[in-house]
């Protein structure tokens, strides 16, 4: 099958959605002739014109509100934040408006809005350009939140998000943009709300998101050499959570490690852990539930510190090993 990079897969989804539905258009900073800060929109402006690939002024709150209003009035905007950190400027429109308008109006309207958030650390851009704030959005009823880890899912989840009648937040990890993978040419959908087992195993369940899926898979490979078979689940959707896939896995393995890049405290792993601890899987647990998340600090500039600030595969190996050892 054809290989595309994650960024190309996103771009293909945008192009196919715009071709298929004239209501779809793109908004964002420097997504036109510049091609986007991460070259995701690339040359789309030349193909679809400035009306459908709209550069906005640097005005995140207002531009997000414009997207909300356009969605209310029949369009299907796909909004790019240049960095997910800048969502801090637009929480009002995302959380008070987009997420709640349908509910507040008694179900009389929908807000079919997609927002894309390049997120995460690893590019040396320091504390204000490296955050992983996905957990904030997963805390908000009215929003859906997805976080693809592969080019395949980047395309399929984005197309599903654009189809969706409600606001969907798409978290894209910056370090994944250049990673490659098989991507079918047709416009397929990956269902929102479904996790996927990336690797089967029986000794421990690792639930991971975004780039951590790859680090977890690396770790699983190493652990295999030590006789530990880890099951790796790619969460894919943070809201609504696919509880059943995780519960089933934990019932099988009896151990759970959550790996995510956001700050450990109240990051998405907190929810996964708590969900399991109150589920039917609780009685199957043979060990404490371990979370590996970002350290309790902003992301530092220095590259060695930057790496130390979020889980890496050797840390996952060490954690799983100490959790499982002696208990297999």
């Amino acid at each position: 099958m054809r290989e595309l990079s994650y960024a190309q897969a996103v771009q293909e989804a945008l192009a196919q959605a715009m071709e298929a539905d004239s209501r779809v258009f793109l908004m964002g900073e420097d997504i036109g002739v510049y091609g986007g800060a991460f070259q995701v929109t690339g040359d789309l402006v030349h193909r679809f014109g400035e009306d459908r690939v709209m550069d906005t002024p640097i005005a995140e709150l207002g531009a997000a509100g414009v997207a909300v209003g356009a969605a209310l009035a029949g369009c299907r905007p796909v909004f790019e934040f240049q960095f997910s950190d800048f969502a801090t400027l637009a929480m009002e429109q995302i959380v008070n408006q987009a997420a709640k308008i349908r509910f507040m109006l008694g179900g009389k309207v929908s807000v079919p809005l997609v927002m894309r958030f390049p997120a995460g650390s690893g590019t040396g851009a320091a504390a204000q350009h490296s955050q992983s704030l996905d957990a904030w959005f997963a805390h908000v009823p009215g929003l859906k939140v997805v976080q693809p880890s592969t080019p395949h899912d980047a395309k399929g989840l984005l197309l599903a998000a654009i189809d969706d009648p409600d606001p969907v937040m798409v978290f894209e990890h910056k370090l994944l943009y250049k990673t490659k993978g098989d991507v079918p040419e047709e416009a397929y959908r990956v269902p929102i709300g479904k996790a996927v087992v990336r690797r089967e195993g029986r000794h421990v369940t690792i639930v991971a998101t975004a780039i951590m899926v790859h680090r977890a898979l690396e770790a699983a490979e190493v652990l295999k050499g030590e006789g530990i078979e880890a099951e790796v689940i790619d969460l894919r959707t943070l809201r609504p959570l696919d509880t059943q896939t995780i519960i089933d896995s934990v019932k099988k393995t009896s151990r759970l490690v959550c790996v995510y890049e956001g700050v450990k405290t109240l990051g998405i792993g907190a929810e996964i852990s708590a969900m399991i601890a109150e589920s039917e899987a609780f009685d199957y647990l043979d060990a404490p539930i371990v979370r590996l998340g970002g350290v309790e600090a902003p992301i530092p500039y220095n590259p060695v510190l930057e790496k130390a600030a979020v889980p890496q595969s050797d840390g996952i190996v060490a954690s799983v090993r100490s959790l499982v050892t002696g208990r297999i």
């Binding site: 002024p57 709150l61 356009a70 349908r102 009389k108 859906k144 409600d166």
Partner: protein, 341 residues
């Protein structure tokens, strides 16, 4: 002379507003102003009697601004409204009975009892909703105008907001985008002198909100917000421009809210004299007097309109009180369109 001829004769010397609208339209405007006034008085009373909970922001004294702005709008034109949004909602065509049902928290309400006063909306008549966030509606209106453009319609989006809201960053960002993209949107600032307790003298360094239009290369018009003719004529000019692809306009209607900011207001920031003074500039009284002076409506017709409005409001309250209570089991309903949660 038949009534139609009499009307025509009287009207010929009059200003644009009275020539543009026929008797029916003028009667309807007066009716709507009365509906707003009585609606709010009714809501206030129900609130005081504990029948309505939460809070509410009354626009008594500002009726000319709401009705004058919406008189010439189409159903397909949008408005976005504010926390002080009852008047806009009625002016754009909502049914007061369904608004009361909302205030009473009933399934029959415009928002099925989920929104209340601060989120009153009637999407059918083009009202995209009141907003609990000061300035929240500004960019949304720009987005609606963008959709209009994309759909190649010649409708407009009318964005109501207050003087206080004009200090929010959202104001700046919204006006700038509307201006650079030349979108069909009207920014109608209802300047009632205060954002809650803070006067415009204390919250901005310019005298008028309209003075800010120049920062967006946009016309900024100031009108007497208590005179429906002034408001309506300015809005008609601006809608014509907008429908014609000439871009947005900022209109400032100078007005006053007679009641406190909300139910918790002790009016410590303004004088009784100021309030009394503004009561003498009542927009309904002004309009009525003009209609009579110009021979457009007789005293008896005015009286009939008033009585009909009162009856409609009383019936609306009755309707609302008999509405259906939502079931607590449905507390998480309508969060998502598919029904998922």
């Amino acid at each position: 002379m038949t009534r139609a001829v009499k009307e025509a004769a009287a009207v010929s010397n009059l200003r644009e507003f009275y020539r543009h609208f026929d008797g029916d339209a003028l009667r309807d405007a007066l009716r709507r102003m009365y509906l707003i006034r009585r609606f709010e008085e009714g809501a206030e009373e129900a609130y005081t009697r504990g029948l309505i909970h939460g809070t509410m922001h009354l626009s008594i004294g500002q009726e000319a601004s709401a009705v004058g702005s919406c008189m010439d709008l189409r159903k397909t034109d949008y408005i976005t409204s504010t926390h002080r949004g009852h008047g806009h909602c009625i002016a754009k065509g909502a049914n007061p009975a369904l608004m009361f049902a909302e205030f009473f928290g009933k399934e029959e309400g415009y928002c099925r009892g989920r929104g209340g006063s601060m989120h009153i909306a009637d999407v059918e008549s083009g009202n995209l909703g009141a907003n609990g966030i000061v300035g929240g509606g500004l960019p949304i209106a720009v987005g609606a105008a963008l959709a209009i453009r994309k759909q190649k319609r010649d409708d407009v989006a009318v964005c109501f907001f207050g003087d206080g809201a004009s200090n929010e960053g959202a104001f700046h960002e919204a006006l700038n985008m509307a201006a650079i993209w030349k979108l069909p949107v009207l920014f109608i600032c209802e300047n009632n002198k205060y954002g809650m307790s803070v006067s415009t003298e204390r919250s901005m360094a310019v005298r008028n909100v309209a003075d800010r239009a120049s920062a967006y290369n946009m016309p900024g018009e100031i009108v007497d917000g208590n005179r429906i003719e002034d408001v309506s004529e300015a809005v008609m000019r601006a809608t014509a421009r907008a429908r014609n692809g000439e871009g947005p306009t900022l209109i400032e209607t100078k007005t006053y809210r007679i009641r406190g900011h909300s139910k918790s207001d002790r009016n410590r920031y303004r004088t009784r004299e100021e309030i009394e003074e503004w009561k003498t500039r009542d927009p309904i009284g002004h309009f009525e007097a003009n209609l009579e002076t110009f021979g457009i409506l007789g005293k008896d017709e005015v009286e009939a309109i008033r009585l009909a409005a009162e009856a409609e409001i009383a019936a609306g309250i009755e309707f609302a009180r008999n509405g259906t209570d939502p079931s607590p089991a449905e507390v998480a309903r309508d969060v998502y369109t598919g029904g998922a949660s």
